[in-house]
Amino acid sequence: MKHCCILILFLISFTSQSQNDPELIQINPLFNNEHLELNKPYFLASVNDSIKIETLKFFISNVQFFQDEKLIDSLSKKQHLIDLEKEKSLQIEMSRSNRLRYNMIKFSVGIDSITNVSGVFGGDLDPTNGMYWTWQSGYVNFKLEGKSEACSARNNFFQYHLGGYQAPYKTISNIELKVSQQNLIVINFKIDAFLNGIDLAKSHSVMSPNDTAVALSKRFQKIITIGDEK
């Protein structure tokens, strides 16, 4: 009797698995249309110089699926820390039924204000991940660091730590993307486009909530696109 149950359970899980291919959101940071690699020199046209990215870390939060503006489903895990140093973090599993139909995905880059004022959390939000400011409360939504000869800072090092959850320096950025039903949603982050037009000689360090952080956070809506299914 007992064995029979286990067998049935096994069969059910087996069949349901084969029907549902793993569904993934693949975050795809790009530089000049190539998959971005850390510490590799690229050419940044807007400063006419070479550039290396050393750190790219950011939060994706509140991923939701819509069909014609109607909310169909949302991911139960609310915040995902994407860290280019950890390839696995670029994949977000969608543990949802693929019978649902959707044609739009919405999410935020950054951490919402409720989470920002609710104390400490573990996992992706753990303060050891280096995405929390220490002298003034708040998560860093997006961290981009690297080097370029065009940057006049010490060691040519530039660092953009974008965050701030309170007006007038609210930096969370809401993204909407049209998608077609697929098992793998590729979301491009065009980092060259993010840097485009920033004068690295002048504006190379953003380390707290301020006007520049707000202005740079507005760029996400332009640099995030749906990629091709691979």
């Binding site: 004022v117 400490v120 050891t128 220490t134 409360s137």
Partner: protein, 343 residues
């Protein structure tokens, strides 16, 4: 095996039936308001509190294992830093602000003199990371703790069989600090009906209610808001308080209203520790208020207090000193740990 399991189930059943649990609630008098702190995200337990107490007194949280939280927040000073106007950190560096007393933190809405920190859990990151205070990183603190048998045990007791995380360190520190409740001063005994104010204290109480209670609101003796109480700017520090955080001119020179409990233990006073004695504070309020753009409207007319009034007010303020709190062994250095605190 089977037996021990059913025993556990039995205990759990009995515990639930009688409303016992591993978790404990914060104990505070019924005339206190509802705490601001949300305990749902960090349930207090004996083990969590004990772990937090060990961390609070352990210099392992600093870069060279020289400075603990208690270095600047001593139990005998109601967890303030006495004898130093400005705090004193690693490598004998002097900070820019006076270390505040720590008690009744569960009722506080924001932390630091300028409100830079929005939640008690997050507060400890500031001193741990500050180059002039403990000069360490939470990442490294976790690595150091993971190598200590004693802490592996304490964390397991408090948070179960998961690796030590930054969140655990911060939650434990909060748990201990939340238990620092000052509610047993003479004022409290009068509230409970087990003691009476004398005539002078009663007069002082009336003066207090007329002049001070709007900001230093009883029973916590602060409304934990921000105000400009007319202190002249110390040009060696140029500290503009809340303005540093919001960068809005309306917040210039606003500082968090401190509680007036335990003043006997927490001298010196104000964000920069400029006053050593309470009579200097009273003189400030009666005759040294500086009128700037953001001065609290209450001070536009100066507070008039005769020297008798001052003595009465002082007598009332003495009733807010809570010796039981300051000498409570539950809040002090955990003696049960290894003899050498640096170990």
């Amino acid at each position: 095996m089977k037996n021990s399991r059913s025993y556990v189930i039995l205990v759990v059943l009995i515990a639930t039936a009688f409303g016992f649990s591993k978790y404990q609630d914060l104990q505070y008098p019924d005339y206190f308001p509802v705490p601001e702190y949300n305990f749902d995200n960090n349930r207090l337990s004996d083990e969590g509190i004990e772990l937090g107490r060990n961390l609070f007194y352990d210099p392992i949280l600093s870069r060279d294992n020289s400075v603990s939280c208690a270095s600047c927040h001593s139990p005998y000073n109601a967890f303030a830093h006495t004898d130093h106007d400005l705090s004193h950190g690693i490598d004998d560096q002097i900070g820019t602000r006076n270390a505040p007393a720590l008690f009744n933190l569960a009722w506080q809405k924001s932390f630091m003199w300028d409100g830079a920190i929005n939640h008690l859990d997050m507060q400890a990151l500031a001193p741990i990371s500050h180059s002039g205070e403990m000069d360490e990183s939470i990442q490294n603190v976790v690595l150091k703790l993971q190598q200590k048998e004693r802490y592996l045990h304490l964390f397991k007791e408090a948070f179960g069989d998961t690796p030590i995380s930054g969140a655990h360190v911060l939650k434990a520190l909060s748990q201990f600090q939340l238990t620092l409740i000052s509610a047993n001063s003479k004022y409290d005994k009068v509230k409970h009906g087990s003691d009476l104010f004398n005539e002078q204290e009663n007069k002082g109480y009336a003066l207090f209610k007329a002049n001070c209670n709007s900001c230093h609101t009883e029973p916590l003796f602060s409304n934990y808001s921000f105000a400009n109480n007319g202190l002249i700017v110390d040009t060696t520090l140029n500290d503009f308080g809340k303005y540093a955080i919001t960068k809005q001119s309306k917040d210039s020179l606003l500082f968090k209203v401190p509680s007036l409990r335990n003043l006997k233990f927490s001298s010196p006073y104000m964000h920069d520790g400029r006053f050593r004695r309470l009579n200097e504070v009273l003189n400030h309020y009666t005759s040294e208020i500086i009128n700037t753009e953001t001065l609290d409207p209450q001070f536009e007319q100066s507070i008039a207090l005769s020297s008798n009034d001052k003595a009465d007010l002082m007598a009332f303020l003495q009733t807010l000193n809570d010796t039981d709190f300051v000498f409570d062994p539950k809040h002090q250095f955990p003696l049960n740990k290894s003899k050498n605190p640096k170990e």
